[in-house]
Symmetry: C2
């Protein structure tokens, strides 16, 4: 599955200051003399930056509000926006709200329902697309973002399928209007959405898939007719193979891949931008690179689209759900996806399942594009055993400092980590684990 984590930042610990600020229960700071608030384990973002910004902490259990559903979490989904949020590339929840509990996706059992919730009952097995807060033992989510899962769907599958397949379904069928025998280019085809696209495309006859992925994982990727290495001149390779162009480009990278994707379209072709994962690579950490990243994306005149018979689209599930109020639209997609699952037409590919405490390794794996399929977090799973000296070392350092000092240290480490990012590689400095990862690393950039 994966190599043992050597990063020592995610040990269980409590951090009283943050606990008091907790936005989980939506309440003001409580008097310590009141009955002790029940606590739970959660993955908390304490600042913005590298892996060290993410900690497993004790947090107060959420208090159920009107219209909400309280879920006992059994499995969580790791998604690319989690990495972008951690790095501060996306700003929702806003940076000012840190520390907060991370996580947009989970599945579990309903423990309680708030006033006004009618469709969901205690004991129901559900998935949720929560606006953060999902990576905890308990989460309270507005009912409009909670979906009952089919009887035969495991919690792991539910956490693997819900977000990625909603995105993939929207890309292929809602925006892409995919028809049989069409050609589709999918970037990062090994990722969670990429693998969902592969499965959903198979439900349509004769679709030819072209996928980009790092060379190292080509062998692990199934059902993609044309696998290309993104670091090569993939545009020329595709033009050679498909001189008439392709029907649909699904781009989660952004940057200069936007213009490249547009160029590859045949007349009546569609380009869809649904992510900007290039923003999380080290090379865009400098202001110059960041500006270049934005400059590279050409604005397009509708009159050019008219001349060329082309379509440009954007898809952003988080905006759709949390800013644009289209939760019913998303619910319809979830229904269709669960139906396909129940019919046996799709089965999510799970790359690996991790304990909360191993979140740095899980994130690093996604950042390095080493996963094939979904990365799952399981709050009940035992963490990978660490070399004892590291734990001791960590405890020794940690106990000698106040929480304030700890925070300063974290910030310093994060800054150092940002420097590392300039080398196009995000590593947990403290761990020095590059040696262990070397066999996989060679071909991954």
């Amino acid at each position: 599955m994966s190599e043992p984590a050597t990063n020592d930042t995610a040990q269980k610990e409590t951090e009283p200051k943050e606990q008091k600020n907790g936005e989980q229960n939506g309440e003001e700071e409580k008097d310590k003399s009141q009955p002790a608030v029940k606590e739970m384990k959660a993955i908390v973002l304490t600042g913005f930056g590298g892996l060290k910004s993410v900690k497993v902490l004790k947090r107060p259990e959420p208090q159920l509000q009107e219209g909400e559903v309280l879920i006992r979490v059994k499995a969580c989904g790791l998604n690319f926006p989690d990495l972008m949020l951690r790095q501060g590339v996306i700003d929702n929840p806003p940076k000012t709200k840190a520390p907060f509990v991370l996580g947009f996706e989970c599945a579990g059992e309903v423990e309680a329902v708030g006033e006004g919730v009618t469709d969901i009952r205690v004991g129901d097995r559900v998935a949720a697309l929560s606006e953060s807060k999902a990576w905890a033992e308990l989460v309270a989510v507005p009912a409009k973002f909670v979906y009952k899962i089919p009887a035969k769907m495991s919690f792991e599958d539910a956490a693997a399928i819900t977000m990625n397949y909603v995105v993939a379904y929207a890309l292929l069928f809602e925006i892409g209007n995919l028809k049989s025998d069409q050609t589709v280019l999918v970037h990062s085809v090994g990722g969670g959405v990429g693998q969902a696209v592969v499965q959903l495309a198979k439900t349509v006859g004769g679709v030819k898939l072209i996928g980009t992925a790092s060379k190292g994982k080509h062998e692990s990727i199934k059902d993609v007719a044309h696998l290309l290495d993104h670091s090569t001149d993939y545009v020329q390779e595709i033009k050679k193979e498909f001189p008439d162009g392709i029907d649909l480009v699904l781009d989660c990278l952004c940057g200069d891949d936007v213009n490249k994707g547009y160029t590859l379209l045949k007349p009546m072709g569609r380009y869809v931008l649904y992510g900007a994962s290039k923003l999380t690579t080290g090379e865009t950490k400098s202001l110059f690179s960041l500006a270049k990243f934005w400059w590279q994306v050409d604005k397009v005149s509708p009159m050019k689209l008219f001349d060329e018979n082309k379509t440009l689209s954007g898809f952003n599930l988080r905006q759709l759900l949390y800013a644009q109020g289209r939760d019913q639209y998303v619910r319809d997609l979830v229904d269709r996806i669960y139906k396909l699952y129940s019919e046996g037409q799709i089965k999510p590919v799970v790359d690996s399942t991790w304990a909360f405490e191993d979140i740095p390794d899980a994130m690093q794996k996604m950042h390095d594009r080493k996963n094939v399929g979904k990365i799952i977090l399981d709050p009940a799973k035992e963490p990978i055993p660490r070399p004892p000296e590291e734990v001791v070392e960590k405890k020794r350092k940690g106990s000698a400092k106040s929480s304030k000092e700890n925070k300063e240290k974290d910030n310093k480490e994060n800054n150092e980590e940002n420097k590392d990012n300039k080398e196009s590689k995000e590593e947990a400095k403290a761990g020095g684990d590059s040696g262990e990862k070397a066999p996989e690393n060679g071909t991954d950039k």
Copy 2:
């Protein structure tokens, strides 16, 4: 149906110089001593500009080439691109090729087939989307642009349905991916494409149509829930009625309506530009207005589409067929449309049928947006009787001049007409027919 034409430029005449230059038969100038070339009646564009550029002339019958189908034309479709071509707004066929026979659409009986044509036989009833040349008694069209029509489809219906419904079908279902209960804004809903959109939208349950059309013809337009006058602040009216936005905007106007249309979209909404009919109004004749027209159309970043969950598309059937080689794609759409017709699900709305000689009136009607549904030209129809003095006057003038002089006169008239266009109204100067049209005119701008 319509008022008698008073424009005197479209009388049958022969113009020997143009006849010799004819690109219809694809041959070099012939020696007059050879057997006389058979002639036919055709609507010829002699230059670019106003209605006087269009003449009914005798032309040599086309000679069939390999891969072509010779059609005895029974009905022709008038489409907006014909007006744009006449005014020189679109350049295909290129201006240098004038004079040439106009017309992108016709239906008739197959009189002969060229070498290599296998699917179509002599006697077949067909429609054709020809790259010009369709408005003649005979036309030779590459077989790839010729479609056999259902047994029960009249030639008039075939000429009314083929181009408009292909466009409408592509807009609604191929690009728009229309679903039940969605809202659609259609500009110029009274036009040929607009009326096709209305009929095709009815095949989907619960679609709410919003249409713009000049107030004067609102009464004649059926099945459109929300009819608005384009000259009012339609954006505000729509926002009031549909505060969440609309799902699909179909825009044949261009200019500032592009940005307005984009603004009206709800998240997951789509805007499609499929024409630029505003370019043919008098107001864009000045260079300043023309520049303003282009400036008004905002370029859009794919990243904005990503944030807003929106789609921008262009559709241009002529480009698709004649420049981009997607004739098989269009053929599939034609098949689907003819099937819907055979099933009785659609029935084209024909506004009026005109003799070739009455083409100026037919074009004027479309230009003034006075038609509801398709305008058809019938080569066998008798022209509307003209006041005898005008015919006499015309003949007297014409016979006194050489063909070269005639051409100079035409150019001069065209220039004068362009001046008229600056007054936002295109009229046949010689006819002085504004009095007769006054009752309809009042609300049309």
